[in-house]
């Protein structure tokens, strides 16, 4: 800042004066930067008269700038369009790049990040699955390509004491976790290997954010116990604020896994993820090959424990962004197109202006202005425009980035690292400025020899050379508009299809929230169920509540909780190959509240409780079809999860629901009444409320009532079902909004481009048109010839655009749903739209041509 100020003073003030002020500034080094700025500005302002006596070159440039400013003020239309185009292009490109760069491109903030990878079990169909704990241990001890490894399971603890109970996101990790990533706590210590056993694993590490938020950054916290799920656990460390958690973006607390040989250390319990650091120099491919070999040996040794056929090694960087890559890549492509359009538009504007000013420059040359003088003038104009465009661009980027961030899908890794990317801003600005400068200099390129021609002919002949360039640019703009419109159309259509998908339940007027029963009072399953009953009772009494239910999970709530199920009277040979179904342990009212149809049989009643001898279940139509193809499933007996589970009689078939996402394949569901579930009550449960009115308005009162039942249970994820559906389509919505905006801008620019070219051409051809009509051409013939000229440009642009669109939309495939990337209906509508709009753009110049009065056109020369 100091140096910049001194430079400014030295550049803009006469040497003697600058020396005095700079000397005075340097002499007081302990004054702040703000003071220096103030002094500099004051000096430049107060001594502006003295500046006039300063160096001539600097002065001339300032004069040029002043003239340029006056010129811009005199053609506000040109100035506004140029600055706006520059600003939008610079701002949008910078904003999107600022999002993409940290999320997709920047190396992960860990030492040697290229060696970090996730390992998954690979199923028959190539899809991934979590890795069982025993398998993780076998992989780790047998694979030479693995240097360090860690197992990660999700954990949702409730913190109590120190204010309201709060449920936080966390991870259960093996003690090697942070060591594997290569990060260390800022306070305290890492987990110790001998803490990774049952009984000794009551230790946690906190994120910097949680430590600050809940514990006020108390540095004496390390070594002290805090209450977690009602148990004391010792805080051994706090991670640094700079720790960017890519493995689980939301996790704020970590506890040691402490597995040795509990029931869930089996090969078939797929609830853990495995992250490894590969040995230096080991390629991902080599690691995959080695793990595949080890996996094959494991399958051979334990044939009943594996459904998977191999393993997958996925770089951490790729895995972390897998979900968001399609939307971000599509945005990247879209913004590149916008940049192209903006550049071509700026070039087009400059050319148009150059044409209009050739006469002016010819006169100035004739009056004795040197080539350098004219160049300097144009340079000043270009710089002024670019500077204003750059300022507009920064403003656009500053407004857009937070807007983009707020609309980004939840759970985006490294979202905290997103801010204005100065490098990108500089690069984009430099590119656009350079281009507009080069093009802006066009009028000065005219040789002296042409001077006579230029002076004599005025604007009529002078612009011929630029017309081809401008026509080319217009063709390009039409093509880009076609591509963007095709993208927007495809995404819009996908979104419509997606929203009209039958999700299997009635999402309107539904409110959901998650409750959590933790602590010593809920050790007993019956206590949890009693709590649920009281919650149901109290909530159902609220005015505006027509029905209420509790379930362990709900569709589109983001949970994946599946159990293997099979025909109890026909047990499978390999239990790992049985179909899985989404587990729904529910209060009897659940299906009614969700409006999930009963296709045959009956729903649960209050009588289906713990006391009845016959245990019952409902299955979705898809699961019934899978287990008993072509038969009536009602009355069949179902085993869930483990052979020791008592067989359950199927009493009804329900409609299928979309459990994971609107665009996911249909999964299979089974339902069991809460009282009859004997494999452990769920601490977390979802309360679903149906109301005839606005569900969001009910949230506060439902919360209050649940808190009144037990104030220690945290309530999280309060959302209406429609919000959950919106979240499930967030990526596509974002892409659609941006594509539509970009496509609209592209269309507008293309039309103004065509209009500009034709209007210029009509103005130049006034005499020719006059001659034609004098010789008997009818107005319709003249209109036809102008339309033909515009039509040729539009058709060429559309053809190129269609080719481009077919190439581009391939990148959109991941965002499309139920529609092919070359969907003919979309492409035809785009072509019709562009055709109609461009013809409209041609009409005004064509009408103007038809109104040319031959006698006046001929006499005017």
């Amino acid at each position: 800042m100091r140096r910049l100020c001194i430079r400014l003073l030295e550049a803009l003030l006469p040497v003697d004066l600058a020396d005095q002020i700079v000397g005075d500034l340097v002499e007081q080094p302990d004054r702040g930067g703000l003071w220096i700025c103030k002094e500099t500005i004051a000096a430049l302002w107060h001594l502006r008269r003295q500046r006039a006596k300063g160096e001539e070159r600097t002065m001339r440039f300032i004069t040029d700038l002043r003239i340029a400013a006056r010129l811009l003020r005199r053609s506000p239309g040109f100035a506004a369009v140029s600055i706006l185009t520059l600003g939008l292009a610079i701002g949008a490109t910078t904003a999107i790049f600022s999002v993409i760069e940290p999320v997709l491109l920047r190396p992960l903030p860990y030492p040697d990040p290229g060696r970090l990878a996730f390992i998954w079990e690979r199923d028959r169909d190539g899809s991934r699955d979590n890795v069982g704990f025993a398998t993780i241990r076998d992989y780790a001890s047998n694979a030479r390509s693995i240097e360090r490894w860690a197992a990660i399971g999700s954990w949702l603890p409730t913190l109590s004491g120190n204010g309201d109970p709060e449920r936080v996101n966390g991870d259960r990790v093996s003690a090697t976790y942070f060591h594997t990533l290569g990060v260390h706590p800022a306070l305290g210590r890492d987990f110790l290997p001998d803490e990774d056993v049952p009984g000794r694993n009551q230790v946690v590490i906190l994120s910097h954010g949680l430590w600050q938020r809940r514990f006020g950054g108390d540095s004496t916290l390390v070594g002290r116990p805090i209450a977690i799920d009602g148990n004391p656990m010792t805080v051994v460390g706090v991670m640094p604020a700079s720790f960017d958690n890519v493995v689980s973006p939301g996790a704020e607390i970590w506890r040691v896994l402490g597995y040795t040989n509990q029931p869930w250390t089996c090969r078939t319990c797929h609830h853990l993820r495995m992250v490894v650091r590969l040995r230096a120099g080991v390629e991902m491919g080599a690691a995959t090959a080695e793990l595949d070999r080890i996996h094959a040996q494991l399958v051979q040794a334990y044939p009943k424990d594996y459904a998977s056929v191999g393993s997958l090694v996925v770089p951490l960087q790729f895995e972390a962004t897998r979900e968001f890559r399609p939307a971000l890549m599509a945005l990247g492509v879209a913004v590149l197109l916008v940049l192209l359009i903006a550049v071509s538009n700026v070039v087009n504007l400059q050319l148009a202006r150059a044409v209009r000013r050739e006469e002016e420059f010819a006169i100035r040359t004739a009056l004795g202005a040197g080539h350098m003088r004219l160049l300097g003038q144009l340079l000043a104009e270009g710089l002024l425009l670019s500077a204003l465009g750059g300022v507009a661009g920064v403003a656009v980027a500053l407004v857009t980035i937070p807007l983009l961030v707020s609309r980004l899908p939840a759970g985006l890794p490294r979202a905290g690292a997103i801010h204005l990317d100065i490098g990108a801003l500089a690069l984009v600005t430099a590119l656009i400025v350079l281009l507009s400068l080069v093009m802006g200099l066009a009028p000065a390129r005219r040789r002296r020899g042409d001077l006579g021609v230029a002076l004599r002919s005025g604007r009529r002949l002078a612009s011929g050379g630029h017309r081809a360039t401008r026509a080319g640019l217009v063709v390009g703009e039409v093509a880009l508009a076609v591509m963007l419109l095709a993208g927007a159309g495809l995404i819009a259509k996908s979104l419509l299809r997606l929203l009209s998908v039958n999700i299997g339940f009635e999402p309107t007027h539904l409110l959901s929230m998650e409750i959590n029963a933790t602590g010593p009072r809920y050790r007993d399953d019956q206590a949890i169920y009693a709590n649920h009953r009281r919650v149901l009772e109290e909530v159902s009494r609220l005015p505006g509540v027509s029905a209420v239910a509790i379930a362990n999970q709900i569709p589109l709530g983001g949970n994946v909780d599946m159990y293997g199920v099979w025909d109890a009277d026909n047990p499978p040979t390999n239990p790992e190959l049985v179909p899985s179904g989404d587990r729904y342990v529910v209060s009897p009212s659940y299906l009614r509240v969700m409006s999930i149809p009963i296709l045959s049989g009956r729903a649960f009643t209050e009588a289906d409780n713990a006391d009845t001898a016959v245990k019952v279940a409902l299955v979705s139509a898809a699961l019934a079809q899978k287990l008993w193809p072509g038969q009536n499933a009602i009355g069949k007996r179902l085993t869930i999860g483990s052979p020791t589970d008592p067989p359950r009689t199927i009493i009804g078939i329900t409609g299928n629901v979309k459990h994971r996402a609107l665009d996911a394949n249909v999964t299979q569901q089974w339902y069991v009444p809460e009282g009859q579930w004997r494999q452990g009550a769920d601490n977390q449960a979802v309360v679903v409320v149906r109301t005839p009115g606005d569900p969001a308005a009910l949230a506060a009162s439902v919360r209050k009532v649940i808190a009144s039942v037990d104030p220690t249970q945290p309530i999280v994820h309060v959302a209406t079902m429609e919000q959950l559906i919106a979240a499930s389509t967030a990526q596509r919505r974002l892409a659609l909004v941006l594509f539509a905006a970009f496509a609209g801008a592209a269309l507008l620019l293309a039309v103004t481009g065509i209009y500009g070219v034709l209007a210029g051409s009509v103005a130049e051809r006034t005499r020719e048109i006059g001659v034609r009509s004098a010789l008997g051409a009818t107005p319709s013939q003249i209109i036809g010839s102008i339309l033909e000229q515009g039509g040729r440009l539009a058709v060429l642009g559309i053809v190129l655009g269609l080719i481009g669109a077919i190439g581009l939309t391939r990148y959109l495939r991941a965002l499309l749903f139920g529609i092919a990337p070359d969907d003919p209906v979309t492409l035809v509508s785009v072509v019709l739209l562009i055709g109609a709009v461009t013809i409209a753009g041609c009409l005004i110049p064509a009408m103007r041509a038809a109104r040319v009065d031959p006698s006046r056109a001929l006499r005017s020369e």
Binding site: Q20, G23, D24, L25, Q28, K38
Partner: protein, 105 residues
Amino acid sequence: MLGELEQLVLLAVLRVGDDAYGVPVHREIHRRAGRDLTLGTIYKTLSRMEAKGLVASHLGAPTPERGGKATRCYVVTAQGKRSLQTTFKMLRRMSADLDVGLEPT
């Protein structure tokens, strides 16, 4: 009649004596009058007064703590002193016998 800025700067130059350039003049005005003028204002006033012949200047020696830049030191000319006298006489005559707390303290 001198302007307010001119009075302040002239008096400050007189007070500083030798070596009256930007920094000490600024400091003097700040310390005595409590006015935090910018250096630009001071130099602008000085150069205007130099044009009117109220001050004269000469280049001083460059010093390392100024980054090798020379100082330009100002002295008040006889005409400058006369202008000050005139201004102050005028002020005194205007304020004489006014009971509004303008007496010298």
